[in-house]
């Protein structure tokens, strides 16, 4: 198990615009001021942290998978993990500061709330990309990361991911009754590491 801290010094604004519904529009015409204001608010509030650990992967009958920390039935994950003999499980977050900012502007300015929400989502994805790249360089070529709720992989699996990585203790992320993560700009994912053979 490894706990890491990161730093995000700039955001991919195109991603933010995509989350805001700017289909096919690449520039922030008319909202440049809003975007740069929100960016300058959000950057100091980001506190990227992650924890990850590798686990052996065993395949059972059909779509039965033993992930080392939990057993699960999932057709989509089984397909994703084809050609892999172990996995790296990670949990990542950009921290509670973003949620505080969103909560603040959710009360004061819906425009800023919407942009901050999109930026927070873009930020945690950016942090996951960075982490994923580190995992690949440490463990070797990997399949695209896969999270609970994708395809038929149940959200309930979060209940087993959290103790396996001691997510709350290590990076402060908690689960709500509905199995959503708080701070909300957090991600857990399974990265299948391709077999060497």
């Amino acid at each position: 198990m490894k706990v890491v801290n990161g730093k995000i010094s700039a955001l991919d604004i195109k991603e933010t615009l995509r989350y805001l519904g700017y289909a096919g529009v690449k520039s922030a015409d008319g909202i440049e001021g809003l975007i740069s204001e929100c960016e300058s608010m959000i950057l100091p509030s980001l506190s990227p942290k992650a924890v990850y650990s590798s686990f052996p992967l065993e395949r059972g009958e059909g779509v039965n998978l033993d992930l080392g920390f939990a057993k699960v039935q999932s057709k989509s994950l089984a397909r994703n993990l084809e050609g892999c003999d172990h996995i790296v499980l990670f949990a990542a977050t950009v921290g509670a500061g973003v949620d505080r900012l969103i909560a603040k502007y959710n009360r004061l300015s819906p425009a800023r709330a919407a942009v901050l929400q999109a930026m927070g989502a873009a930020a945690v994805e950016q942090w996951c990309d960075e982490l994923n790249a580190d995992i690949v360089s440490e463990y070797g070529p990997a399949r695209p990361r896969f999270s609970c709720g994708y395809g038929d992989l149940p959200l309930k699996l979060q209940r087993e991911i959290f103790p396996a990585l001691q997510v709350t203790k290590n990076i402060g992320v908690t689960l709500t009754e509905g199995d959503f993560m708080m701070p909300s700009k957090s991600v857990t994912a399974i990265v299948g590491i391709k077999s060497k053979s």
Binding site: M1, K2, V3, N5, L20, G21, Y22, A23, V25, G30, I31, L34, S47, K49, S53, S54, F69, A70, G95, A96, G97, D99, R100, I102, A103, K104, N106, R107, L108, S109, P110, A111, A113, A114, V115, Q117, L155, E160, F162, P163, A164, T168, K169, N170, G172, T174, L175, T176, E177, G178, D179, F180, M182, P183
Partner: protein, 799 residues
Amino acid sequence: MNFRTLLKNSIVILDGAMGTQLQKAGLPLGELPEEWNITRAQTIEGIHREYFAAGADVVYTNTFGANCLKFGGRTEEVVTAAVKCAKAAAAEFKNKFVALDVGPTGKLLKPLGDLSFEEAVKIFSRTITAGVKAGADLIAIETMNDVYELKAAVLAAKECGKGLPIIATCVFGEDMKMMTGASPEAAVALLEGLGVDALGLNCSLGPAQMLPAVKRFVACASVPVIVKPNAGLPEERGGETFYNVSSGQFAEDMRAILNLGARVLGGCCGTTPVYIAKLKGITEGVEPAPVTDKNLTCISSYTSAVYFGGAPVIIGERINPTGKKRLKQALKEGDMAYILNEAVTQAERGAHVLDVNVGLPEIDEAAVLENAVSEIQAVTDLPLQLDTSDPVAMERAMRRYNGKPLVNSVSGKKEVMDAVFPLVKKYGGAVIALTLDEGGIPDNAEGRIQIAKNILREAKKYGISQKDIIFDTLAMAVSADGGAAVAAIDSLRYIRHTMGVNTSLGVSNISFGLPNRDFINGTFFAMALGAGLSAAILNPSSQEMIKTYKSFCALSGYDAGCLNYIEYAQSVQSAIVAAQSATASVTAGEKGSLKYCVEKGLKAEAEAAAKELLKTQAPLDVINGQIIPALDVVGQAFEKKTLFLPQLLMSAEAASGAFEVIKSAFGGGGNSKKLKIVIATVKGDIHDIGKNIVKTLLENYGFRVYDMGRDVPARAIVDKAKEVGAQVVGLSALMTTTVASMRDTIALLKEECPECRTLVGGAVLNAEYAEMIGATKYAKDAMESVRYCEEVEKELFGD
């Protein structure tokens, strides 16, 4: 010997990690460690024994996660078994203690998460009650990431701990903040206010990395400081997790921490009995650093502490309905947005603390104050001054407040002291004390000083030290009594300099009944600052006051290089220029028109334009002639996808700003439509940005919207719909799991309000799904919600 004696006289050694030892003993992944208190009691007892033998004076029971969220009805059994294991080990030694370990709930508290403060207190209370009954010697709250949860745990320990010692430690990152943002000073302020026996940090970092934060703890804490670090950071090698600081290195690094003055030492994740034995070794023969009272007067928010006695503290006075028509209206209507804007504006203008007073005869003050405190804390991290004369409201607000509050106020009246001091003792807080008593306000300094002394004497009986008292020597109208200013200033000077107690004044009362009040206020403020005023309750938007404040700080050595003064003086210049150009742009034809400003989402300009228009036009003409047409242009562009959500919202905000101007000038709700809409995010769902967007737009279009917030039970929504006679109920759900709550809400509505239409939206819904759960209408975005409500308005009320 009891634990408090040990703590007072010695360096205290705590144990090391439990989890690390359990894994070594073969605890399988996925099994709850606390189960072993019952199934492998010998193993648990053995681990405790090893720590005692290694030199620990105190072991923590194996109850880190032993709460009712994880163990339900078995909580008591698990906790009792855990205490029994530790006590059995302790019985073999002399002078060893068993601490009931209380870890975090694993949930985040509202407003960031979904656990309410009172639920958290209940969860902790249950574990603590069981542990105390089983015979624990003290309560150790640990690994807290969030000061709010920490407060809930300490309160539970005070309420159910039967007077046992309480020690508490928090998790700090290398940025020297807790996960939810608290600084070491804020954590210390909160914990000392609540009266814990020792406090400090644990987990997350190794001892060397903890050093800078430990320094800050030791500098401001007046009780022993605890340091319980990890054996460095976890790393993985060949599938095995290990921590990267050896036992020898750990002990060496802990020596530096000991030298800083920390007195209660142990280990967290990755440490073993070997680490603790070596730690014990470095303390042999070392005298503990003395614990000194730092004598700091301080309050805190959930992120930071504010100290009194250095640079004067500005307490923003604007959230107080006395003499403020618009605020009274907002309070009566439950319009929190107005209050939140006042909070943010005062913070921007340089207030360090915000006074919150919502006392109006026609409202439920306790409920409104409690809610206002949570809401204001969601938009600002300034500490709050809870201002009420109702002890019930004061208690609820102090309990709910996230941090150590300032309380306004107590006085020399026996009845008031009897009501307020027990609250200050229980919840922690600093309190403003007015120098008046049953005999009224003495007209001279001597009388006021005498009352101050009486108040200090009475506070002492409750164990409240003078550092938590701030005297307000009462600025009375100088127009009625020529000696008013002198009496206030003279008593202030004596209290501050001779008695050594901090002071505060509600400055502007002095000019009551006089013209151009700012003239008098500014000079009086300067006199008071010169006499030793520690804090002033004033309007931070008053240039006269801020001018005096900034100048005073520069002249008194509180502003190194006069940098703050220079920045302020220059900003005043540029503000004047900006105001002139804003006025110019308003008059500049088409570009300055209200319609243009709303279309382009220029809020400040829209407000200025609305003000200008209202000089010549009726409010309804301004709304129908300018605002609504602008919103329509933007709405249509959004529907055609030539313009996107942020621009739609910027326009909506500009329109809201213009509406606010109209409201302030003419009162009334500004609702041009008759339709009443109740709106909520359903039970179980805490996503409310989409719902808030819909609300803003509906209000822009003149609908009366009753916003019930998020995570709202079906019953509450239906009751509200009945109460206000709503024709439409808007429901939002963002998760597949909460669509069920939406369906239940719709079913209950159909049963009890069959006439009411339901409008639903949210990421997981579509038209078919909406039909399946019985909704009247699915709207794909905020504009479609507006269009639908317009249709219903037309159908029910005509054009």
